[in-house]
Each structure stands twice: as C-alpha cells, then as structure tokens.
C-alpha cells in the first residue's frame, strides 16, 4: 500500500527504512475513502432522530434543519472548540504569572522590560514587578471569566484602533471569552439557533477572543516569564538530537508549563543524575509548537534546549529514532499514534495537563507552586529510562535539518532589526523590491498533497514571485526542515527579493515560531498599517493556512477574517454543503470586515490568486 509522503525527503527515507514502525503516514491510505456528508458539513448528530444527512431525496433533517443551519452549527462548534483550546492555554499562563507575582513560585521573571511596558500601555499598573505581574494576570483572567453581555475590558487596548471601531459598530466585540465559548455550545445545541448568519458572527467574536487573548496575550505572558525572543541562528531538524544525552522530548503548546525544565536541567543535581545514568547531561528536544516557542526564546536557555526537530507529524518518527528517553506533553499535537511508537521504543510518557492526558502516560498535574518537585520527577523518570532502555533499543538519528536557521522573529525583534521602525520594509514594498507579504501559518496535515507538500510548494512559488513569507505554526517546522529559513534560500527567491535578502543576510521566509505567533504576525501587520495610516484590509498582505488540520486553526482563521484579511485554505473547512455559509465566508464577509476565504487545492492557481490579491491591494495604495 502506498504510504503518505512528505516534502521532507530525509524524513521519507527515514520512515521507509523503519518498516517496523507504523506512523500516521502509514494510516493515510486505509483512511483515504472519506464520507461525503462529513466533508461537506451536512451530517447532523444533534438528536436521536439523526444522524441526518442531506441528499437530493432528503434535503432537510428530520427537525427541518436546512443544510445552511447544519453547516453553520457544525462550523461554530468547531471554532468554539478551537477557541477553547487557546483560551485554556492563556488561562494557565495567566495563573502561573499571577502565582509567580504572589511569590508562590521560585521561577524568576526574565522579561520584566515587557512587563513594565504592558503595565503602562494596558494601564494595569503596579508598584513593583511582582505587583505588576499580579495585576496583569488578574486583569486577563477577569476578562476571560466575564459573562457574555459584559465586553472584555482589554480588547480596546490590545486591538488595532480602526479594527476596534469596526468591531464595535458591527456588534463583534466579544464578551467574556469563556462565556462566548459556552454560549456557542448552547446556541448550536438541539433545536436552538437555526440562523446561519448569527452563528457566523459568533464565530468572528470567538476569533477575536482567540487572537487577542489566546494568541497575543499568551505570547506576552510567556515573554514575561521566560524572556523575550531574540534573533539568532540555530540548528533545526532531527540532527539536534545527541544520543549521548538524556533526551526529553516535549510536545504541546504551553511553554508556561514545559518551561520549568529549562533551569532545573542545568542544576548540579541534574548533572549528577545524568552522570549516574551514564549520560553526558540532560537535553530538551523541541517538537511541535512548544518547541517552536522555546526556539523563539532559546537565547534564554541555550545550553539545555537542543533545538527544534519538527512539526506535529514528525513526532512519531522522532520517537522512532530511539534517541528519545521520555516524552513530556502538555497540550495537543501529541498524536495518539505516538503512544504505540513509544511502547515499541520503550519510551515512557508524562503529561502535565489532563486535557492532553495520554493513555499510557503518567499524569503529573502541573502546579506552579511545585515546579521543583515536578521537574525533579521528570528528570528522575528520564534518567531512569535512559539507564534502562538504551541497551535494549537501536538508536538511529538521521542526518537531518539545517544548522543556520534564522529564528527569534517577533513583532518587536523584526522592528528592531529594521532599525526601530517598519519604514524600511514599507519602502521596499513601495519600491516593488518586495511585492507583498504572505503569512503562511497554521498546521500541517497529510491530505493536502501529503505532509507539508502544499505548504512547501506554495512557499517556494510565493518567494519566486518576490512575495516575502512570514511563518507561524507547524508551517515553521516544515519550512525550516527543508532549508527555506536558512540564508541560502535567498537563491530560490525572485530577483528583487533575493537582492533584499542578500543585502540583509536573511532568508526569504521568516520564522516567527509557533501557531501562537499568529498573534505576533497580527501585531506586526497592525504596526505596518499604523505606519501607513491605513486599516488592515488595505495592506498588500494575505494569510494562508494551506494545510490547516484542527479546530484551533479554524479559530485562528476566524481571527484573520475579523481582522479583514484574505485567508487561503487548501481544504474546505467542511462548509461546502451550504451555499449560504460558503457564500458569506468567500464573498459576503468582505463587505463586513474586509476579510474573505479563498479555497484552492492547487498550488499554482492558489499563488496566482494570492498574487492577484496583493497586486490589487498595492493598486489600492497607489503602488
């Protein structure tokens, strides 16, 4: 049976040579036959009269629900679940910041500069750093817990001015974020809302709550705790794994949890423990978005963080190298299939958050007051595993990845790199040296041509046409592992973009890190728009989440649409069963927020269409 392929040839070869290991790549062909009703979003399981499905002979559900109602309900539920995931992350991060501020944890704050800035700009105040931390965290938590008819207070200060005004006039300002999620579930339950338009507007409110709190605020809190990103060159790919060390692989999205290992693994006790197990020391092996986040902030833990290995669908292969001694997970992108590979390779698993509890993992519930004890247990588990398993498994780390990946890009570091203002970038765009900006974001999946096939193919074509690419999400793992985030990739860009890259010493694809950094891209875009004195939809900028995978991506996408941006997806988000919903998302919405969705599964036609959007927006700015 044909196996799914990746854009990453070394990964393909590695998996082909490990025929005894079954990964998601093997499971794609036997799952190739899909249910047409599910794909179009017209299967409804909300009551015992169902599941109802829409066909020419049964155009409505038993209750009378139209395909438009079914699709909108399914879509809003998915966006609400995705929003819930990111809101869970920011809630945990804020609780941790509050407890550090209260003195209930020995963790230091490494980004106090940002804390001071936010205490001023968000007017949360505080006499010292601890009080500032507590105040900020409490204000964030208070907003999350407001009832839905009470609008979140920080939105006005976090959002780009013209957008806030538009959202206010359009009734799009979100109430308490958790209540917005809660009421989305109420709204979409059996025989409640049947209004597709109201449900789509609710999705946009969830998108705003996700973007400003789940994404942007999580970044800020983690920057305060673990230190702000710094631009640096780093190694990426499986090659970062050194089998001489006790290797702890981390998966998830919460550096506010996994980060407690950073300093703990550098302690003298850790060194002794590793030595006693027969290892050179401990290393954190970055994987999925928490690894991208650590890569972004790696200037603050260079000794212990080995580097980022890859995205969601490289995790099973990474365990299969045999060089991983323990998997610590705290959120999603921890594939169930990885558990089988862990058992095969004798790798124990520990979960820090029960929302990501894996069946064969030990649950070690995170508590910011007990970080030393938790880190100690993780170290002990990893060292014991190293001592017990290494003689029984074959270790085979392929030569993979690049050692000159430019990392650490953020809304602040990019601006500083450009000299403290976006003017130089705007000048390059105005002069046509850079035609426009493409934010290539989101997940990886195995169905848009294969693993990262669309993402990598589209990115190559975009830079060839002098469109600079900014990446945030599993797309970063994809693009750094095929060399597009290394300076030499400048050679693959069009003549004008290549010149820019060579003169600045940067690759044509800029690495903003994890999907959470979609929040950083929004701030970057808002900064550029402010410099130009225009609203976001005017910018020659598009977003593409070509290989979106999960519900979180749909919440991110809803944020992009609320921002008024053009959003490309290679696979439809289960909406095509409704002409109305498809019409609003791909056309009608442009008259409300300025945003719209382009669905296109072909790389060349996608890039043609995205380039046309950019040229159109350039013309709108008189360029």
């Amino acid at each position: 049976m044909r196996v799914c392929i990746s854009a990453d040839q070394v990964l393909n070869d590695f998996l082909a040579a490990r025929s005894g290991v079954e990964t998601s790549f093997n499971r794609v062909p036997p799952q190739a036959v899909k249910c047409g009703f599910g794909m179009q979003g017209v299967c409804c399981r909300l009551c015992s009269n169902g599941p109802c499905r829409i066909t020419p002979k049964s155009p409505r559900g038993v209750c009378g629900a139209s395909p438009d109602t079914m699709v909108a309900r399914n879509f809003l539920r998915a966006v609400a679940a995705g929003a819930a995931c990111y809101l869970h992350i920011v809630e945990n991060a804020a609780v941790n910041l509050r407890e550090i501020g209260r003195g209930n944890s020995q963790l230091p704050l490494k980004g106090t500069g940002l804390l001071n800035e936010l205490a001023d700009s968000l007017e949360t105040g505080g006499r010292d750093r601890n009080e500032k931390a507590v105040n900020l965290a409490e204000r964030v938590l208070a907003d999350l817990y407001l009832p839905r008819n009470d609008k979140m207070r920080l939105v006005q200060k976090l959002a780009y001015g013209p957008r806030f005004e538009l959202w206010r006039q359009g009734g799009l300002l979100p109430g308490g974020a958790k209540s917005e999620v809660f009421d989305a579930l109420v709204k979409t339950s059996t025989n409640l809302s049947s209004d597709p338009v109201d449900m789509l507007l609710h999705s946009l409110r969830l998108g705003i709550a996700t973007g400003l709190y789940g994404l942007a605020m999580t970044n800020k809190i983690n920057d305060i705790i673990w230190g702000e990103p710094q631009i640096r060159t780093a190694r990426a790919g499986f090659g970062v794994v050194d089998p001489d060390y006790v290797n702890i692989m981390i998966t998830g999205h919460q550096q506010s949890l996994a980060g407690i290992l950073q300093d703990a693994l550098l302690s003298p006790e850790a060194a002794d423990m590793a030595r006693a197990a027969g290892a050179a020391g401990f290393r954190i092996i970055g994987s999925t978005c928490v690894g991208q986040d650590m890569q972004l902030r790696a200037a603050h833990c260079p000794e212990v963080f080995a580097g980022q290995t890859g995205n969601n669908f490289t995790t099973e292969a990474l365990v299969a190298t045999g060089a991983i001694d323990l998997v610590v997970s705290e959120f999603n992108c921890t594939l169930p299939g990885m558990e089988t590979v862990c058992r095969q390779m004798l790798v124990p698993q520990i979960c820090l958050d029960d929302v990501a509890k894996k069946q064969n993992a030990e649950l070690l519930p995170f508590d910011i007051r007990e970080t030393r004890a938790i880190a100690g247990k993780i170290m002990r588990g990893a060292a014991d595993s190293f001592a017990a398993r290494r003689k029984n498994v074959t270790v085979n780390v392929p030569s993979h990845g690049y050692d000159d990946v430019l990392t650490g890009l953020s809304e602040k570091t990019l601006k500083n790199f450009l000299g403290g203002s976006y003017k130089p970038l705007i000048d390059l765009i105005a002069a046509g040296s850079i035609k426009g900006i493409a934010a290539v974001v989101g997940c990886s999946n195995l169905t848009a041509g294969g693993h990262d096939i669309f993402t990598v193919g589209m990115t190559r074509e975009l830079i060839k046409r002098d469109i600079i690419v900014l990446s945030a999400g599993c797309t970063s793992g994809a693009l750094e592992n095929v060399g597009l985030m290394s300076p030499a990739a400048a050679e693959l860009a069009g003549e004008s973009l290549k010149k820019v890259c060579l003169s600045l010493g940067i690759p044509p694809v800029l690495n903003f890190g994890p999907c959470l950094a979609i929040g950083r891209l929004e701030e970057t875009a808002a900064d550029i728009a402010a410099e130009l004195g225009v609203d976001l939809p005017k910018l020659p900028l598009i977003i593409s989440a070509p290989q979106w995978l999960e519900e979180q991506a749909l919440a991110d996408g809803a944020f992009g649409l609320a921002l008024g941006l053009t959003l490309h997806l290679a696979i439809p988000p289960f909406i095509t069963g409704s002409e109305l919903v498809t019409g609003i998302l791909t056309k009608g919405l442009e008259n409300i927020t300025g945003g719209r969705v382009i669905v296109d599964g072909d790389i060349n036609s996608t890039v043609d269409r995205l380039e046309a959007v950019i040229l159109d927006k350039r013309a709108g700015l008189g360029l």
Binding site: V33, C35, G36, F37, R53, T55, K57
Partner: protein, 166 residues
C-alpha cells in the same frame, strides 16, 4: 431476477453500505451494536477510490459465469439456477482460497476471525432488500431487474453502465 446495481457517480463515500453489511452479519444485526473495530469480522463489500480519486462501491456481482464457482474444488460454491445467485456453503468449504485468487473483483475473502472458510455476499440470505441497498443514502447501490439468460439490466429506463474502478 434481482441484482445489485452500482451507480458509482452517486457514491458519497460514506461507507454506510459497509456498516450495514457488517451489522447484518453480526450477532445482533444492529448498526448500533455492530463492532466496527473488527470483532465481528469484516464487511463483505467495500468502497474504493477509482483512478480519479472518486469513491466506487464494490460488491459481489453474482456473475453469469462465476470464476469462483469454476475454481472451487469442493463444490462449496455454486450458481443457483433459480435465483441466479452465487451461493457459498460454509460446511463444504475447505479453505483452499482458490476462489479468493480467482475472483477478478476481489469480492470473496477468507473469513477474518477464524480464517478457515471463505465468506462472500449472500444477498442477505433472502432478505427482501439487501442491507447495503437499504443503507445507501444516495442510491449509488440499488436493485435492478436482470434477464435470467443474459444477466443484462432490464429495469425500465436504466441503461447498463460500465463505469467502475477505471
């Protein structure tokens, strides 16, 4: 005589026909209780993608000149002259798999749990409408009247279609 007629252009790929076949041949006969993880064996039909990635339901054609019957050495397989159905007698099956190898459509297989005898579509053993036909939400799997002599479709208004896996 009735036969199952496949209209691949109507197939939505939902695999409901497989769920129904599995349920029919499970202890309870219920779709609610059928073990979809393999504990009740495998469905006797399938849905495959053709060369254009479109789903096509596959089921036993109860051929006019069945290769499986010709290949069967024990007489477990036979063509019923009255109904035209290709029938399989489990009691006489030796599990030699000659039928499995000879069926050009891959529609007879070793029974998945015991692997001692072959299994194939039994047209739901006299059920008025086979479960897969009943379960198909789009009409891609339907019943057609065929001529006992030629096996050709004689349902009014229904031309035989050759469009299949290729």
């Amino acid at each position: 005589m009735l036969r199952i007629l496949i209209k691949p252009e109507l197939c939505a790929g939902c695999k409901n026909c497989q769920v129904a076949c599995l349920a029919e041949h499970s202890p309870s006969g219920s779709v609610w209780l059928a073990d979809l993880s393999g504990g009740h064996g495998r469905p006797r039909n399938s849905v495959e993608l053709n060369s254009r990635d479109l789903p096509v339901p596959l089921t036993c054609r109860h051929c006019q000149e069945p290769e499986c019957v010709t290949a069967c050495i024990t007489g477990a397989l036979s063509k019923n002259p009255a109904t035209g159905l290709v029938e399989h007698d489990q009691g006489r099956c030796a599990g030699c798999w000659m039928c499995v190898m000879s069926c050009p459509f891959g529609m007879i297989s070793p029974e998945a749990l015991e692997k001692k005898t072959a299994v194939k579509c039994d047209f739901c053993q006299g059920r008025e409408t086979p479960r897969c036909v009943e379960a198909c939400p789009t009409g891609a799997i339907c019943l057609a009247e065929v001529s006992p002599e030629t096996g050709n479709n004689t349902t009014p208004g229904e031309a035989p279609k050759e469009e299949g896996l290729h």
